[in-house]
């Protein structure tokens, strides 16, 4: 189990290093930050001063190692725009994004999994077909269409809810609703197929044959076994939550890290974009690491297999 965990941690660290390298290469090689920050007509000496100040004249590998070193010291650089610390800018915006993503994840889990499990246990029923249809609808509607439709109905036509901003909890309802829909569909579908597969296994037949109640069969034998593939999907969904936040925050003018990303990308604010890429990639890598560890807890077979390696 220890080697299993260590390999996972090592691969996670390697992935983060790759993301850092990617961010560095793309952002540094794509254009001259001095020209963008100072404009095309800036006098040469101020351009030179700017380049010297930000270390843009060093060879690229030197800049890269300087960059890695500063990150190791938890220094993510300062925003070229307003000279505030990049990591502070990101941390400032983080609570707003979490205020959307955490409730969204809870709603997705709370509705998606039970709906999928219920559909699997009542196959071919009206409820099952309903769940399938709704889940297909859920993940084929792009979030920006969903968001705009919700605004059109609940904000413009009915006037029940505000269409954007972040002044009260009522402002969070439409964004959360928009973000939840797709994930509910995906989770419902995966839980359904995972549960159907488990219910066809011989050990379920055995459990029923030895006279266990339906309740016990489902709760003690089927659900724990179906939880492994479901946990995998939850790990993947963290990424789509963050990507969803970028779109949804832009529709509802919600001041989270998604909007920060779009704004700093269009301002070409290198330090902030790099910092955001790192924060997003790290949270995804950590989420997937948790999923890997959860496997070990959920599935004793996996534990045995990996120690045998």
């Amino acid at each position: 189990m220890l080697t299993y965990m260590l390999t996972r941690v090592f691969r996670a660290a390697l992935t983060i290093l790759l993301v850092m390298t990617f961010a560095f290469v793309v952002l540094r090689l794509s254009g001259d930050p001095a020209a963008i920050m100072l404009g095309p007509d800036a006098p040469t000496d101020s351009v030179d001063a700017f380049r010297a100040e930000w270390g843009l004249d060093d060879p690229i590998w030197k800049q890269y190692f300087a960059y890695l070193k500063s990150i190791a010291q938890l220094d993510f650089g300062i925003s070229m725009r307003d000279r505030s610390s990049a990591i502070m800018l990101v941390l400032e915006r983080l609570p707003a994004t979490l205020a959307l993503t955490v409730p969204t994840l809870l709603i997705q889990l709370g509705i998606g999994i039970p709906a999928g499990v219920y559909a699997a246990l009542h196959r071919q029923s009206v409820a099952d077909r309903g769940v399938i249809m709704l889940s297909i609808f859920g993940f084929t509607i792009p979030s920006f269409v969903m968001g705009l439709l919700l605004v059109l109905v609940f904000a413009v036509t009915l006037g029940w809810l505000p269409s954007g901003g972040q002044d009260s909890w009522r402002h969070a309802i439409l964004p959360i609703l928009t973000m939840s829909v797709g994930g509910i569909g995906i989770l419902a579908r995966f839980s359904r197929s995972a549960m159907i597969e488990v219910m066809g296994q011989p050990y379920i037949r055995t459990a029923m044959a030895k006279g266990l109640s339906w309740r016990d069969v489902v709760w003690k034998h089927a659900l724990p076994n179906a939880s492994v593939p479901i946990v995998t999907i939850v790990g993947f969904m963290v990424g789509s939550l963050i990507a969803g936040a970028v779109v949804v925050e832009s529709i509802f003018s919600w001041p989270g890290i998604g909007r920060l990303l779009i704004v700093s990308v269009s301002n070409r604010d290198l330090a902030v974009v790099q910092c955001l890429l790192l924060v997003i990639a790290s949270s995804m890598v950590i989420a997937n690491l948790c999923v890997d560890f959860a496997y070990g807890l959920l599935d004793p077979r996996l534990r045995a297999k990996t120690t045998a390696h």
Binding site: V19, V26, L27, S30, S143, G239, V265, I280
Partner: protein, 288 residues
């Protein structure tokens, strides 16, 4: 046992299993996709107006106005004409990108299966990297910093989902290598290229086609999302996503500008999902 039978079955039976016994929804989906493909191909013929032709006296005209079936936008441009052009642009991008990512991913998967060792590890690490960043965020970074052009957009979208093909083709190629037929042709002196293209590829094609039907709608959604954020297809070109993005400004006064492309996006992705599911049931031997 069935797995074996399907894998080695000659091509005609594949087509025979395919014959039209499709359920109603799938037939409707196929019909919709055919309509979209036709629209994309004949865009220049069926478009009533030029995409950029403005009619300032008829700005924000409502749908069903004589001469403008779906109304006009803020500059008096015909929404139907723009829609038809957008369908073409979005489909071309999605189609090109799906092919690119399938070819690229399958190639890497085969390379990993053929050479194993370091190369295989490297490809798997790259796949990990791809999974570690949401694709939307990766593309945002690349597009905003390199500027947006049609070729770059297709190229970028062509990276979407390559890791899925790579994993599948690597796994299938390794297991095919363990089967008699691949070893037999190697013994007969076939070059690796011939073994992979003539013998292994046809046997794994059905699984790859199913993955393509999964990636295609995702690429449409990704491209329209980027264009919606203003970072994908740039004006004067228009795509379904950037029509929605512009229509958003007129949500209260002229919702049809945004509703028309939204409807097309939803119907298209829905149709591909239905058809893809059905195809998977028909073709994918692993879920039988």
């Amino acid at each position: 046992m069935t797995y074996q039978a399907i894998n080695t079955a000659p091509a005609p039976s594949l087509i025979r299993r395919f014959r039209f016994k499709a359920p109603l929804l799938v037939t409707l989906g196929l019909a919709w996709l055919a309509l979209m493909a036709l629209t994309a191909i004949c865009a220049d013929l069926v478009r009533p107006y030029e995409v950029t032709q403005m009619d300032l006296s008829a700005r924000l005209a409502a749908p069903l106005t004589p001469g403008h079936l779906l109304g006009t936008d803020d500059l008096g441009r015909d929404v139907l004409s723009r829609l038809i052009q957008s369908i073409r642009v979005s489909l071309v991008i999605a189609f090109g990108a799906t092919i690119l990512s399938a070819v690229f991913g399958t190639l890497l998967g085969f390379l990993a299966a053929q050479f194993r060792g370091t190369l295989e590890h490297l490809i798997l690490v790259l796949a990990d990297f791809q999974a570690a960043l949401p694709f939307l965020i990766l593309s945002l970074a690349v597009l905003a910093f390199f500027g947006s052009s049609m070729m770059l957009l297709i190229g970028l979208m062509g990276f979407y989902g390559w890791e899925r093909y790579a994993r599948i083709s690597r796994g299938l190629a390794i297991s095919a290598g363990a089967q008699g037929y691949a070893a037999a042709v190697v013994q007969l002196g076939a070059t690796p290229v011939r073994v992979y293209l003539r013998h292994i590829l046809p046997n794994v094609a059905s699984t790859l086609i199913v993955s393509m039907t999964l990636t295609f709608p995702e690429i449409i959604l990704m491209e329209s999302g980027l264009s919606f954020l203003g970072l994908g297809v740039q004006p004067p070109q228009s795509s379904l996503g950037n029509m929605v993005g512009f229509g958003r400004e007129y949500l209260t006064r002229a919702p049809w500008i945004m509703l028309a492309p939204s409807f097309i996006i939803m119907m298209t992705t829905l149709s591909i999902s239905l058809v893809g599911d059905w195809l998977r049931d028909k073709l994918d031997p692993t879920i039988r």
